[in-house]
């Protein structure tokens, strides 16, 4: 089934997009994109003297060499009787736009691997009937059926998801500041319909004006400092222009940037270099007059709609320059914090067109039976140290099945308790308990040997079945939990927020727990090595190891990460002496422990295959009592 693509047919740049799995994606242009302009390609059409047709980036690149054969901004002439005369042939603006649409059709068909026959195309809100008809004609010439023309501000709003029907009407202001033009549109959104209330703008105001100001500043400063006018040389101005554009973009996220152009020019005195620091404050000072000019259009649109700034419920930003902090601050000063976020302002119009296309193609009316949900919160079990080990991540599409193999924490542990949890915090205790059960009959073995496979099966209705199976005996137990989706949306949000809030703390706690587990394993294996080595270990080595073990035991339950790490390191280094002594050679690299411990976990290794389980409840408290010499901790 062929798709209906969305097309943003812009004055300077155009882009096409389509919907895949509920998300809109831009279709990349075959010959490349404008370097600074995101994923769009320039709206240029050219005919070479040899009669070759060029569209997009290649057309733009030869514009200066072939001005008579190059056409740009044909959109400005749509709906008029104007005719382009190129090398003796006449073209209407519709025909020129059709070349652009044709290129989009070709690129889309190649990219999607399927015929593309229908499209939704965006037009400015202020386009009149003649202009709209011309756009439709362009589509027909290109072999594309334009199933709908959507206003650009409406498309932008769709991309932000504003089409969900609310109880009362919403007033939306779309602020579209592009490379060369400003368009302000106020719309009323109610009962699923976008209605344009007023439009205003400035056709000679945009990002390139901002670049101009910055470039002029740099050149003036250089003239002041070094006495050379850089404007004279084309090559030089090119380098300055590129550096200025880059700096402008960097200053949207950094407070300061540096322009470094060595060998920018040469005079009789020798080569000259341009090194200048530009702060965001300086840029904002240079750019302020342009931002202020926007105010006129905004006030015009508001008064034409007979509203006040307070009436506007949402502001949508479109266009590259709206990413600048000064522009966003300017808007917020007028309207308050109402800027919609989450969508790339350079792609939102094309994306909105794709969304409209999908709606028209009925793609969003998926067979009920196939509407798949996602599980909102992570599901897992509790493991050694009171930690939660995730089995199914949040936002996994259901139905789904996942399993993992675990082991025992203590020697001769014959049962494991499966404590099923739901939530985002790393510590089990901070999450929601869904259920518990016990699997017993595990043959007595050293810790870490048994293999217990824990499987989570979450069906399409959110019913979770957790199974634990001992691979040796094939004994299994399971539990069915019906209310994994019982939490309300607010409760889910609260849990997620708590996870973010406590992220740093939790990370710390987890690190300490992991270190403690590591310490316990290391102590176990060291003591085992000592026992197995017996008399073969020289007394002084034995004493050293015992001392280090005692040291680690002392510090592992404290909360000082660095101290524990050091003690682990010390013990790890010291215990290698056992091997050295027994083999009578210098210790080699790696953890050469003698009497290889049954727990395959070398000190410092995080067991990821066989993780350790909480011992059975009646063996006492949660952690630690896996050696007989240790007293169970309260």
């Amino acid at each position: 089934m062929s798709k209906i693509i969305g097309i943003d047919l812009g004055t300077s740049n155009s882009a096409a997009s389509y919907m895949e799995a509920g998300k809109s994606k831009i279709i990349p242009s075959a010959e490349g994109t404008t370097l600074v302009g995101g994923k769009a390609f320039p709206s240029y059409v050219a005919f070479t003297k040899e009669g070759e047709l060029l569209v997009g980036e290649p057309a733009r690149r030869q514009a200066v060499a072939n001005p008579e054969g190059t056409i740009l901004a044909a959109k400005r002439k749509m709906g008029t009787d104007f005719k382009y005369n190129i090398f003796g042939k006449e073209y209407t603006p519709q025909q020129i736009s059709a070349f652009i649409l044709q290129k989009i059709k070709k690129d889309a068909e190649m990219y999607l691997g399927d015929k593309v026959e229908k499209a939704v195309v965006t037009v400015p809100a202020y386009f009149n009937d003649a202009q709209r008809q011309a756009t439709k004609d362009a589509g027909a010439i290109a072999g594309l059926e334009i199933v709908r023309l959507v206003n650009e501000p409406t498309a932008a709003s769709l991309a932000y998801g504003l089409d969900k029907v609310q109880e009362k009407d919403q007033q939306v202001l779309v602020f579209d500041l592009g490379g060369g033009t400003l368009d302000v549109t106020i719309m009323n959104f109610g009962q699923g319909v976008f209605e344009v209330r007023s439009t205003s703008g400035d056709t000679k105001l945009g990002g390139t004006d901002m670049d101009e100001n910055l470039i002029n500043y740099i050149i003036d400063e250089f003239k002041k400092e070094q006495g050379v006018d850089l404007k004279a040389d084309k090559m030089v101005t090119q380098r300055v222009k590129e550096a200025a554009e880059k700096a402008k973009i960097e200053l949207s996220s950094a407070l300061e940037t540096e322009i470094n152009l060595p060998f920018i020019t040469a005079t009789n005195e020798g080569p000259k270099h341009l090194l200048m620091k530009i702060t965001r404050a300086k840029l904002e000072e240079l750019v302020k007059p342009i931002v202020d000019r926007c105010r006129v259009s905004i006030e015009q649109a508001i008064s034409d709609a007979k509203l006040t700034p307070a009436n506007i419920e949402k502001v949508i930003l479109v266009g590259g320059p709206t990413r600048m902090p000064i522009v966003q601050k300017f808007i917020e000063n007028i309207f308050g914090p109402k800027i919609a976020r989450g969508v790339d302002p350079m792609e939102c119009v094309a994306m909105g067109a794709a969304i409209q296309g999908a709606i028209l193609a009925g793609e969003t009316e998926v067979k009920d039976v196939l509407l798949l949900d996602v599980t909102p919160l992570t599901l897992g079990i509790e493991t050694l140290g009171g930690v939660m080990t995730p089995i199914i991540d949040r936002n996994a599409t259901i139905p789904t099945t996942k399993s993992q193999v675990f082991s025992t924490a203590a020697d001769n542990q014959t049962s494991v308790e499966i404590h099923v949890l739901q939530g985002e915090r790393p510590m089990a205790g901070d999450n929601r308990t869904l259920g518990r059960f016990i699997l017993d009959g595990i043959p007595p073995s050293p810790r870490g040997i048994p293999q217990v496979e824990v499987g989570f099966d979450l069906d399409a209705n959110g019913i979770l079945t957790v199974t634990a199976k001992d691979k040796a005996t094939s004994k299994s137990q399971h539990i069915t939990i019906k209310d994994t989706s019982a939490l309300s949306k607010e409760e889910i949000e609260k849990m997620k927020k708590a996870a973010e809030q406590f992220a740093a703390e939790d990370r710390n706690k987890k690190e300490i727990i992991d270190l403690r587990n590591q310490s316990d394993t290391l102590i176990y294996t060291c003591e085992k090595s000592l026992k197995d080595g017996g008399d073969k270990i020289p007394a002084d080595v034995k004493k050293q190891v015992e001392d280090k073990v005692a040291e680690l035991k002392k510090v592992k339950d404290a909360n000082d990460i660095e101290v524990i790490k050091k003690a682990i390191q010390d013990l790890g280094d010291t215990v290698q002496k056992i091997g050295a002594a027994m083999y009578g050679s210098t210790p080699s690299t790696g953890s050469g422990q003698d009497g290889s411990p049954q727990g395959q976990q070398a000190p410092g290794a995080q067991p990821d295959q066989a993780q350790e389980e909480k011992p059975k409840a009646d063996q006492g408290p949660i952690e630690g009592e896996y050696t007989t010499e240790e007293k169970p901790k309260p």
Partner: protein, 164 residues
Amino acid sequence: MPDEELKKLQEEVELVKQQAEEYLNGWKRTKADYLNREREIDKEKIEWIKFANLELILNFLPIMDSFDQSVKNLTDDLEDNEWANGVLKIKDQFESFLKAQGVEKIKTLGEKFDPMFHEAVAREEDLSRQSSESDGGKDEIVEEIQSGYTMHGRVIRPAKVVVK
């Protein structure tokens, strides 16, 4: 069993059979889509790896531009200067590095202008320069303003040139 009930059951069986077939086909299609998508991703992965360093290389090119500029400014009296020569060797190192990454400079001087590889920033006559001696005819590149590069054959930055 009364006829009516029998008929109802038979209709139900038909309906359910149809549904089952529909579901099976849908299932098959989904499985096929999944396998096809995996195949696509494997293909895409090769592209990702090939061009993983693209961003890095693009950010590196302005540094090469500065180096090119420094060479242009090398005065004759520095010809025997060992330090200057050493720096030139560093430039060579950078160029070898780029080559190893599959990055190559686009040929400009003397070539015919090709918008797939070059971007015209000026015509010779507009710069009021003396007409160059070349007689390659119109559309011949007479000066390179900024180097262009390809990576694994793909143009990553077109060369900025002056056209006759």
